[in-house]
């Protein structure tokens, strides 16, 4: 049902010429991957990223979009968004990686069980086209985070970090990682010259970078992509509490984004 609503909406956007293309997900056989839909004929293969379970096949569409926009800065694109994707869009608008006038978000709501699993406080976007918004989890704490804690169990966390295989997947998949020169490639954080090479010790650095600058939108793609199963989203939540600024916790971030959105709208209206 949700899918049909989205298909219909995108079909109209394409027909009205409002967008050059719609960046969404396409199902081919049992595979689901990103696809730029350029005509209504293709929309039959649209997927919302649920293969076996809700949201088990999510991709960083906003990140892909920012690259398309870099190459085609005057084109307008539609993009499929969940609540977290829309938060990423806001971040990318703020840092001018995307222009809000050239992005048409097409949103749908996540089911309550997905919101619960990800401890998501706003499992639906403002640009809601399909689905019933579920309330989300306020002040939640995920199972791993509450079990481990951070300051009292630092050694356990550092032992966990030792599993890192330096694939950079957490950075590569992150919808809001946009720096050209990445701190994680800083030579000081990457001991070399010994065989076997020492484990990189940049995971805490990344946590501070993502959380301290209020970038993290807590989508959890980093955690899903990690071949070593390091609970990165749990780490970021814990760090956000320790840093202790309202603005960097998930709830604080929500408030901050609302304020930022209003001020930008006011500026545009003025």
């Amino acid at each position: 049902m949700m899918k049909e609503q989205i298909q219909e909406h995108v079909k109209n956007l394409l027909a009205e010429g409002r967008i050059e293309g719609f960046l969404g997900l396409r199902q081919q056989g049992t595979d689901i991957g990103p696809h730029l839909f350029k005509s209504a004929d293709e929309l039959g293969d649209l997927s919302l990223g649920d293969r076996q379970d809700p949201g088990d096949s999510r991709y960083p569409l906003d990140k892909i979009l920012s690259r398309l926009a870099f190459n085609y800065p005057t084109d307008t694109f539609g993009v499929l968004v969940r609540g977290c994707d829309e938060r990423a869009l806001q971040q990318l608008f703020t840092v001018s990686m995307l222009h809000r006038d050239r992005v048409v978000p097409v949103g749908f709501a996540c089911p309550p069980e997905l919101a619960e699993a990800h401890q998501c406080w706003k499992p639906f976007p403002e640009a809601l086209v399909a689905g019933e918004p579920s309330p989300g989890v306020v002040g939640g704490e995920d199972a791993v985070g509450s079990q481990l804690g951070l300051l009292g169990k630092l050694q356990e966390w550092f032992d966990t970090f030792d599993r890192c295989v330096k694939c950079y997947g957490c950075r590569n998949i992150c919808p809001v990682c946009y720096c050209h020169d990445c701190t994680l490639e800083e030579a000081a954080l990457l001991p070399t010259g010994e065989i076997p090479p020492a484990n990189p010790n940049f995971l805490m650095t990344r946590a501070m970078h993502m959380v301290g600058r209020s970038l993290c939108i807590y989508c959890g793609l980093c955690e899903e992509v990690c071949p070593a199963d390091i609970p990165l989203k749990s780490l970021y939540r814990l760090v956000s509490k320790i840093v202790g600024q309202e603005a960097v916790t998930p709830e604080g971030l929500a408030a901050r984004q609302e304020t930022a959105g209003q001020s930008v709208d006011k500026a545009a209206a003025g």
């Binding site: 689901i32 991957g33 694939c167 950079y168 997947g169 071949p227």
Partner: protein, 135 residues
Amino acid sequence: MDYKTVLTTCAYCGCGCGLYLEVLDGRLIGTLPSKTNPINEGKLCVKGWNIHEFVQHPSRLTKPLIRKNGTLTEASWDEALDYTASRLKEIKEAHGSHSIAFLASAKVTNEENYVIMKFARAAVGTNNVDHCARL
């Protein structure tokens, strides 16, 4: 404006991770792990994440080179194959077949690796065969 993702299999080792190559206007611009592939379940190693880089890399060897007077010089395939065959034969005759080793590749098919193994053992007469995936 032509953006597409192409589902394929990583060529770096024998695991067979599924990935999407991102293609913009005929150029490979990125790699994304396939979330639905049962082998890698949306994960990749550092090599897989960067596999789009080698295909169209300007430093990629596309023509045979022969070192002449200390300088690598472009050569035709016929010249390169003749030179290699005659030198392999000379070395084998002078120093024996075990003075030669073969290094196969993870970026070619099983069949091509079979052929180089067979060539080493049956034609040259050595078991010195190894593979670049032994990292």
